[in-house]
């Protein structure tokens, strides 16, 4: 039992950190520009594919830096020459623009890299076990992924709280016009934030690709969950997104790991459900992929502003 708890915790945290890397960019972009970027997960996919292609020439480590930079640059271009023009027509136009962009990126990826998964893998030496516990190996790569995620989290916190740029971003979040009147170039700041958010998604792709499989459907599978994270955490709240990511990561892995049925869970909370009925006998493991969406519905009913959100959506 202990081994399941330990490994599920590790897996849950790793998954949660990956989710946070994706959702932090999304929530930053949303709170600053009011744009819900539907193409965000597509940038995550691009990160994985770029790292795959670059990695064949440069190796893993340079690709780890280059691929997110490339994705970030692409994101900045999208903002500068796409979103900024569409912006004049209001939020609905922006939403539709990112929605269309997601489809375009999906199709492009299929045209360039094919419709089946590519063999994007971590370098050979990182497949060795970092440690072995109860006969289960934990690979070096997974350790590296956790480390990179934490480093990124610290860097993000430092950037936002301790630097001048962070000060401007935080000011622009709430008082965009005032920042503009003070002589700062707000459109350029927007472009930077959009590019930065995309770069974070790209980084998640680089380290998530070998774990989750790099295939054209990867954006579509993770996309909805990232939105769930942002809503559960509270629209525009970075801290909220962090807790929501970890919560969803842990719930999902523990639901798989625990050998119990819906009836066991509900009855433990004092209800009385037939353990052999249609609903009661469904195992929690089967429900696991659904948990983020169950959580989404519960949050929207009981706490519409999310865990840490300040605004009513």
């Amino acid at each position: 039992m202990l081994e399941i708890v330990i490994f599920s915790t590790l897996n849950g945290i790793l998954y949660g950190l990956l989710l946070f890397m994706l959702s932090s960019g999304l929530t930053l972009i949303f709170s600053m520009m009011g744009v819900l970027n539907f193409a965000h997960a597509s940038f995550y996919m691009l990160g994985a594919y770029f790292a795959y292609t670059l990695g064949m020439h440069t190796g893993f480590w340079p690709a780890l830096i280059l691929a997110p930079l490339l994705v970030g640059g692409l994101g900045a271009l999208v903002e500068r020459f796409g979103l900024r023009r569409v912006h004049a027509n209001g939020h609905v136009a922006e939403l539709l623009f990112t929605f269309g962009l997601a489809y375009v990126i999906d199709e492009l990826v299929q045209m360039v890299w094919g419709t089946v998964a590519v063999a994007y893998r971590e370098p050979e030496y990182m497949r060795e076990p970092l440690f072995t516990l109860f006969g289960t190996d934990y690979s070096i790569f997974r350790g590296v992924v956790i480390l990179i995620s934490i480093l990124m989290f610290v860097a993000l916190w430092y950037l936002l709280k301790k630097t001048r740029v962070g000060l401007m971003i935080r000011a622009a979040l709430t008082h965009g016009e005032m920042v503009g009147h003070l002589g700062h170039n707000v459109p350029r700041l927007f472009m930077g934030v959009f590019g930065f958010g995309c770069a974070l998604a790209g980084l998640a792709g680089v380290i998530g690709g070998p774990i989750m499989a790099t295939e054209p459907g990867m954006a579509a599978t993770l996309g909805p969950i990232v939105f769930v994270v942002v809503v559960v955490g509270g629209m525009g709240s970075l801290q909220g997104a962090f807790y929501a990511s970890l919560l969803i990561g842990l719930i999902q892995t523990f639901f798989v790991a625990i050998d119990a049925s819906v009836a066991d869970l509900v009855n433990a909370m004092g209800a009385n459900l037939d353990p052999y009925g249609e609903l009661g006998r469904i195992s929690l493991a089967t429900l696991a992929p659904m948990t983020p969406f169950i959580l989404l519905v519960l949050i929207l009913i009981f706490r519409p502003r999310g865990l840490m959100g300040e605004l009513e959506p």
């Binding site: 039992m1 419709t115 089946v116 998964a117 006969g135 774990i211 499989a213 089967t286």
Partner: protein, 406 residues
């Protein structure tokens, strides 16, 4: 003079053109060609196209040239019905599909309804891999032919092999959560109980089809259950990612699978799959037959995919034999000729049982090995034969009571 020559040439070209068009018979493949399961559909499409060339060089189907049309269904039953309608509207009378019994179930229903309402325009459904046993039992249909052993037959062969391995005491079952996965799990439990009552089933998990990207939580569960063998009917991405996660976490228990040699597995696993991944299938990766070896080499060179679906070759060969025998490509006549048809394959004789339209064939247990003569996916790894299970030992009775057209 020149003008009349020109009209003559164009006229004869047109004639040849129309004559050529009339002389084709189209077979539509309705399978996932994009998305997470494309790794199962794409190689099938390439295999069909590759083998169609051979069929056409040998005189085609009852004298007509065979043309393969790929239609993408994204493993979605609704999407498949749209594609089926599209095929029917363009005059296609033969469809084939394999990936997903959920899809096959929808197709059987739709084809049956269409044929009832449109006599003279019948459509035949050639199933090459959807193995839910019910399609050739309680839900059998005259318009459906299965060229793959069904889930129960595969489990029959697989458990026969496991029963002889006395080291196996605890078995873990992990399958996809839909009709096929449940059929595999049920068959495994029943047949193991009968053949090896001492084996304990230490886990019986179902996960959603094509949704799980990270199988590590399942793997830690298998690890802690103390299982010394895992049985899985997973296919497509679900088998690739499952065995990849198992290898990564150092799970030593061997995997007895239906589709362990699916595309991507050897590339993803490399050394860690050797002696660990078993597959029960109608073929294996030794290619002892020089003719098959030739096809493997040529197909890999031409398409980048391995010669994996021997049953697709069998299907086309039987299609040709039946149509040639009937002297027509009319689906009703072909279907009647197909019933009870035998074919000599590289593995010996196979029969299309008339009672339920379920092919009867020998099966092979193979295991992943390094340094194989013909490696899969451009590596040195492939699946080496460890046991042959004869046709008589694979076969199972049927409950089918087929209704045939008059």
């Amino acid at each position: 003079m020149l003008k009349s020559l020109f009209t003559f040439i164009t006229a004869s070209l047109l004639l040849v053109g129309t004559a050529g068009a009339a002389e084709t018979v189209k077979l539509a493949l309705i399978d996932p060609l994009t998305g997470p399961m494309a790794g199962a559909g794409q190689p099938a499409l390439e295999h069909l196209k590759f083998e169609a060339k051979r069929i056409n060089a040998n005189g085609g189907i009852a004298g007509k040239q065979l043309e393969i049309v790929g239609l993408d269904n994204k493993v979605n039953p609704q999407e498949s019905l749209v594609q089926l309608q599209k095929a029917i509207d363009s005059g296609i009378q033969y469809v084939t599909q394999g990936n997903g019994s959920s899809v096959a179930s929808a197709l059987i229903g739709a084809v049956g309804k269409h044929n009832q309402r449109n006599p003279g325009k019948e459509v035949l459904y050639l199933n090459y891999a959807a193995v839910d046993p019910s399609f050739t039992n309680e839900r059998c249909s005259f318009w459906h032919f299965r060229f793959d052993a069904n889930a129960d037959m595969k489990m029959n062969a697989l458990t026969t092999y496991i029963a002889e391995n006395k080291d196996i005491k605890k078995v873990y079952l992990i399958n996809q959560d839909y009709s096929f996965g449940h059929a595999v799990s049920k068959a495994a439990r029943e047949m193991l109980k009968e053949k090896r009552p001492d084996i304990e089933i230490v886990g019986n998990d179902f996960h959603p089809l094509a949704k799980v990207k990270d199988f590590t939580p399942y793997v830690s569960k298998i690890q802690s259950s103390g299982a010394d063998a895992v049985i899985s009917g997973n296919w497509g991405q679900d088998i690739t990612l499952l065995v990849k996660a198992a290898a990564e976490f150092g799970l030593d228990a061997p995997f007895y699978t239906y589709y362990g040699a699916s595309s991507g597995v050897v590339t993803q696993l490399g050394d860690k799959g050797v002696d660990r991944i078993y597959q029960i299938n109608e073929y294996y990766g030794d290619f002892e037959d020089p003719e098959m070896a030739k096809r493997q080499v040529e197909m890999y060179k031409e398409t980048g995919w391995d010669f994996y679906y021997l049953r697709l070759s069998t299907m086309l060969d039987m299609f040709k034999k039946a149509a040639d025998k009937a002297g027509s490509t009319d689906p009703v006549k072909v279907a009647k000729a197909m019933e009870g048809l035998t074919l000599e394959t590289t593995n010996g004789e196979v029969v299309m049982r008339a009672e339920d339209h379920q092919i009867q064939l020998p099966m092979f247990m193979s295991v992943m090995k390094d340094d194989m003569k013909y490696g899969a996916e451009g590596t040195d790894y492939n699946f080496h034969k460890v046991a042959r299970i004869e046709r008589e030992d694979v076969t199972l009775p049927t409950t089918c009571r087929m209704r045939r057209p008059k």
